[in-house]
Symmetry: C2
Subunit: 518 residues, 2 copies
């Protein structure tokens, strides 16, 4: 589809229209001020629902038909079951049987397990995915095989888009590890327990119709009510919604790579030198091996000095749970539980609280938690000499990851990216990122195994760490060092066809991904 | 204001317009099916809020001015601090100082402690109250002294009206026993602890601006987050928001009146004879002395027979807490905590859960909890021979009570009204209720100290209890008995001026209250 291209505030050419909808090009951080009212669900009458509170219908097909499924609708799912999710594949199998076409699949994230859905993208059941495209779905998209244009949003951007009415969900299908016949549901109990269900909040609060799919039906009231039955149209009981060992990890592990351990060590030392580790501080880190190693170092420093953190937002693993249980952390605010210890802790400990994306990340709320965070540990596939970051494409140009909470987290007080200087002999620091997902002005520190680069804007951090003995370098120095070892990396080649748009946290378009020239 | 009057589905003459807004006359139970979308808040950007999460402003006046207070606005408050509330009076004192006029005060309930607000009704600061009018405010209204027409809604009807956009709240002022600088708040801790804050849910989710007023500021995150700071504009810290001993009772007490004890005993026996007390059943009762006596009898029966209830919705007192703690009750769903034991239990016991009016009462949700309830114990100021009920006016015609959750609760499976046959020698059963708040088709059983009347529609209950030995009579027999003792009561005399409208749970107008002829 030909659409006018305009240069946005970070110099990227972006279309003014995507999938027939008008777009606002990225205007700069905090520059786009939205107008109007939030989206809202249709008003219903409880007189049209069963007075005994029993909303169970015989099958997913029946529920979808009752919800009025038809061509062109937007169908949402959440990703709390991660790579163990059995519901999304079954959903589109059933939809395919019904024979509806041209749908938008709007997951909060997709995983390699969703590869079977490619069949429905190919046969016209699904027009496009608006959500993350990992692994096989990413490759499919980069090859230009998706009918519509993919739209990638951060977790917070997804909430914002629903809330602001940019994406109208016709039917939300919510996989629930435990539910009652009224539709109250949670992720804490049952064979497919996953912890919280906070990614589904916008879905059930804004979708026209809400279907709960569970394999663990309990009597009303299913407690805690992470999903509120008063928003639910129907409940479907199935044999199995997920594969437990692929939903949560039994063991999340600290990296064993010497380089990654070094990066984690430098990161903790940097935070310390910069004075960020102090009573009442807050932090967030991912569940990757390097992040966990950093967390371990952080915990050691805190215990040695008797320092207590006020809260951590996660992506929660046993390492955070340990801090909570050992008293070095007051609260875990948990948007996603990555292992069984996290699920157990959320069940048992009232200071381990499930929160939603609205709370931690929604840019169009009256504030959110990220701007309050002292230390934010993030990754990236590429960073450039202007500190711009990429998390969705690899240097080969293929779409391989979702944005996750990355863009949202960039709003924290100190954004630190502990990343290797190169991966598979391809330098991570580039002249220009392949896809610009986050503007450099929000990225403060890059920490590699061969040195630390501080964003020149952060004169305070430069000042605080200048006598620390840490290997502080310029980002250009780091880039040169990598290129000396690996050579100057080749740029990927693209056609002019736009296969995906990258949204910023405020709904504006910050970049696009083009079709790979193969 | 002259407005056309039409006869509604229960034969009452109601206006087609109130306070300049078009009205739908009551159409019958479940007959009015709403159209359109729910109301929605303006979209905001977090970039316009403090990035450190600190929303504290210097005073309530500053917060109101920052919220853009102006003539004609609707200002809402909640009633969790009950007769110990200090915030609403202070609020209107400050508003009066600012000099804004013609406001609508939209409390979830008012109490005798709010008598000082009469001054602001008289001087034009407040045009009208849409909410309950108790004691002095009720008298003021009945005397026709309020400028606008009062609108009374049930708790659920208040949620419905906000949700459906019938009432747009410009500024919600939420008294919070505990809050953090971001605006997260709860009622569980602090000197003015009151339990849950569920009545304020619609207020903060739908109001344009939200102000938290607290006397117990804690560090972020205030947990549990009964109020979510992401919806809050500003936080005001004051010395004292309430008078603890008037907020929650230290001791809620079972009646000592022999007549009331007899009524409570008959009620328990009736429920038993009708087969309503069985494993997994659910119930709700008020916090009045007769209700508590009934609860006590119910508990005895349950313990004797090893029967366990699944859930109770409340209005919670130590008697319900005792059932939870002794294992005769699985869950308390608590919309309002009436005593200190209830507050403590909500803090300590995860099976004692704060819920909102949306969950238990909203008629325009996808179901609510009341229709699932097996035993519903309610009161009434009057009942008539057609089982219609009145809860807002006394037989002298004065507006003296709010509707509370009464209309909402009428939707339960078995609605039982244990009421005295007469009060102060005035019969409670009348030929026709003074104000019709609930249609007789929803009221199943009237239990008095001199006999029990079952609604002829409930042939099942009549059948089940016919050989029970209980004093089953017709409602006419009960009325005759009362009139033999007290004489036929005089009807109150009214002018033609409508001083208040009574809304049904779906937003339609079921009756009006007229000015007293004094």
């Amino acid at each position: 589809m030909a659409s006018k291209l305009v240069k946005n505030a970070v110099g990227r050419l972006v279309p003014t229209e995507i999938n027939g909808k008008e777009q606002v090009p990225f205007k700069g951080i905090g520059k786009y001020i939205p107008k109007g009212k939030k989206a809202a669900q249709p008003i219903v009458s409880s007189s049209q629902f069963p007075s005994n509170g029993n909303k169970i219908v015989g099958s997913l097909k029946e529920a979808l038909i009752q919800a009025g499924i038809s061509d062109g609708m937007t169908i949402s799912t959440h990703h709390h079951l991660r790579n163990g999710d059995l519901v999304a594949n079954e959903l589109f199998k059933v939809i395919h049987e019904i024979g509806v076409k041209d749908l938008v699949w709007f997951p909060s994230a997709s995983f390699p397990c969703h590869e079977p859905i490619i069949e429905y993208l190919e046969d016209g059941t699904i027009n496009r995915i608006e959500g993350s495209m990992n692994g096989p779905l990413g490759k499919f998209t980069s090859q230009g095989k998706m009918k519509g244009t993919a739209v990638l949003r951060s977790h917070g951007g997804r909430y914002q888009a629903i809330q602001d009415g940019e994406v109208h969900i016709d039917i939300a299908v919510i996989a629930a590890p435990t539910a009652d016949p009224f539709g109250n549901a949670n992720g804490l109990y049952g064979p497919s327990a996953c912890g919280g269900l906070g990614y589904a909040l916008a879905d059930y609060r804004y979708a026209d119709k809400v279907i709960i799919v569970t394999d663990n039906l309990v009597d009303f009231p299913a407690m805690p009510m992470q999903i509120e039955g008063n928003y639910v149209d129907s409940v479907v009981v199935v044999d199995k919604i997920g594969i437990p060992e692929k939903i949560v990890s039994g063991t999340t592990r600290i990296t064993k790579s010497p380089d990654r351990l070094l990066i984690a060590d430098l990161t903790a030392k940097f935070c310390d030198a910069a004075g960020l580790i102090k009573d009442g501080f807050s932090f967030q880190m991912g569940a990757g091996g390097t992040s966990l190693a950093f967390g371990n170092n952080l915990h050691k420093i805190m215990k040695e000095r008797g320092i207590k953190a006020r809260f951590a937002v996660g992506g929660v693993t046993k390492y955070l749970v340990q801090m909570l249980e050992e008293g070095t952390l007051d609260y875990i605010l948990d948007a996603q539980s990555f292992d069984l210890d996290a699920v157990r802790s959320m069940r048992e400990n009232e200071n381990h609280k499930d929160i939603s994306i609205f709370h931690c990340y929604d840019y169009h709320a009256k504030g959110n938690y990220t701007t309050m965070m002292d230390i934010m540990i993030l990754g990236a596939t590429e960073v450039d000499v202007n500190f711009n970051g990429n998390v969705v494409t690899h240097s080969d140009g293929y779409l391989q990851h979702g944005i996750g909470g990355w863009q949202n987290c960039l709003h924290a007080k100190n954004v630190i990216l502990p990343i290797p200087l190169f991966r598979d002999r391809i330098p991570v620091i580039r002249d220009e990122v392949t896809t610009l997902c986050g503007p450099g002005e929000l990225i403060d520190v890059i920490i590699t195994e061969r040195g630390i680069a501080i964003n020149p804007r952060r004169t305070d951090l430069i000042e605080k760490t200048k006598n620390s003995g840490l290997p502080i370098k310029t980002i250009e120095e780091l880039k040169d060092e990598a290129e000396k070892i690996c050579g100057k990396p080749a740029k990927p080649e693209f056609t002019d066809d736009i296969v995906a748009a990258i949204k910023w946290v405020d709904g504006t378009v910050i970049d696009v991904v083009k079709k790979i020239k193969e």
